[in-house]
Point group: C2
Chain length 230, copies 2
């Protein structure tokens, strides 16, 4: 009952952003990975992460890993799950506290990328180090479930957006086309977005309206322990 063994502890982050395919113009989910520079899994791609300094909270360590890897700040950050199977690391037992984060698309375009940091399409990953493929699959499931009942899609967008942009986020996350008229009705009746009264500049005929998120609507999880950043 009172034994507390010392275990190696890591904090890792699954970072999602939307990127457009230059050819088709369609958006899909991408995430940054880092190349391992030591054993085990030397040379393999892995989730960004690291240890837990004694004066840093878990969410703080997750946001720092994100910042150090990509130079970005997340608009949404939430604890995903803690993974601790005895066999998950060949180098000895490691317990990984994993967070997931959403980054705004415009900012994600500015992300650092070099020989050891590279972005991959989330649904077409190479074999990753440790159990990181399974972790990404679980994070994708959580994101896709949550985008249907919570108001997190706007984390991929800027301060204001058109309903077409918001629909494209949902389509990219859920990987299916949504009927524009139905989507508009559902969003408008939900009360989660507010018409700013402004329209997209530079569009001559019927420029689309600009919306912002309605901050007065409570988030779906009032009991969440760490509120979303941003």
């Amino acid at each position: 009952m009172n034994t507390r063994l010392e275990a190696a502890l890591a904090v890792s982050t699954v970072i999602f952003a939307l990127r457009s395919d230059p050819g088709s113009g369609l958006s899909s989910l991408w995430l940054p990975l880092v190349r391992r520079t030591r054993d085990p899994y030397l040379g393999r791609w892995a989730l960004p992460g690291g240890g837990l300094p004694t004066d840093e909270g878990l969410a703080g360590a997750a946001a720092r890993a994100l910042r150090e890897t990509t130079g970005l700040t997340p608009k949404y950050l939430e604890q995903l799950y803690t993974f601790g199977d005895p066999g998950r690391s060949p180098g000895g037992r490691v317990v990984s506290v994993v967070y997931w984060a959403l980054v705004e698309s415009g900012e994600a375009a500015l992300a650092v990328e070099d020989e050891n940091v590279h972005w991959f399409p989330a649904d077409h990953l190479p074999p990753l180090a440790f159990d990181h493929n399974r972790i990404v699959e679980y994070a994708l499931w959580r994101l896709r479930t949550k985008v249907e009942y919570s108001r997190i899609a706007h984390a991929f967008l800027g301060e204001t957006f058109t309903l077409a942009q918001l629909r494209e986020v949902h389509e990219a996350v859920l990987q299916k086309a949504l009927d524009p008229a139905n989507f508009r009705r559902t969003v408008e009746s939900s009360g989660t977005v507010v018409d700013t009264g402004r329209r997209v500049a530079g569009v001559p005929h019927r420029p689309p309206r600009l919306y912002r998120y309605n901050d007065s609507v409570p988030a779906a999880e009032p009991g969440a322990l760490e509120p979303a950043i941003g």
Copy 2:
């Protein structure tokens, strides 16, 4: 990026069962706590838990703490959250992976109780060690949210049950009276319970029907990593 500090790691479990008040006959949520036998917080009540042996998974360690403390086996066990604020333990940084569990009421009545293991009403706890009051509050929020959209209420009941018993579980968890006719309609239309064709024995006039859970209905969280036990 590659530093992994050694951190003290604990696995704790919030264990819920329903108990009837002998006077009113009404059920409410109770949980077992253990008295701390050393500093910090010597003598205070705390969640059952302990360390993580190198050959044991996180869920396995959580179920073992439950078994060692109460002599019980959970019907439902799920990871709740990992707590790791730097200041949460005065004796040095401890990261706690917390699970929550539901125990069948009939079995809970057989639980071990002695000077150092005691059951308390979940909504009326004394000041606990560490941040354990906050952890219990979060577990209560998760249970109350989940009982409304998922089929976990039957974990408090035996193999078969009447609709009145199932309604009493919901009433005890949610702490509000539910209209019997509405509850019956909602449950029957959900398809989550099956009429066994049998009735409660020993009731002379119109004995209530016995139901069981419909295992063919998928659980609410197909992506959950550790399926419910039992």
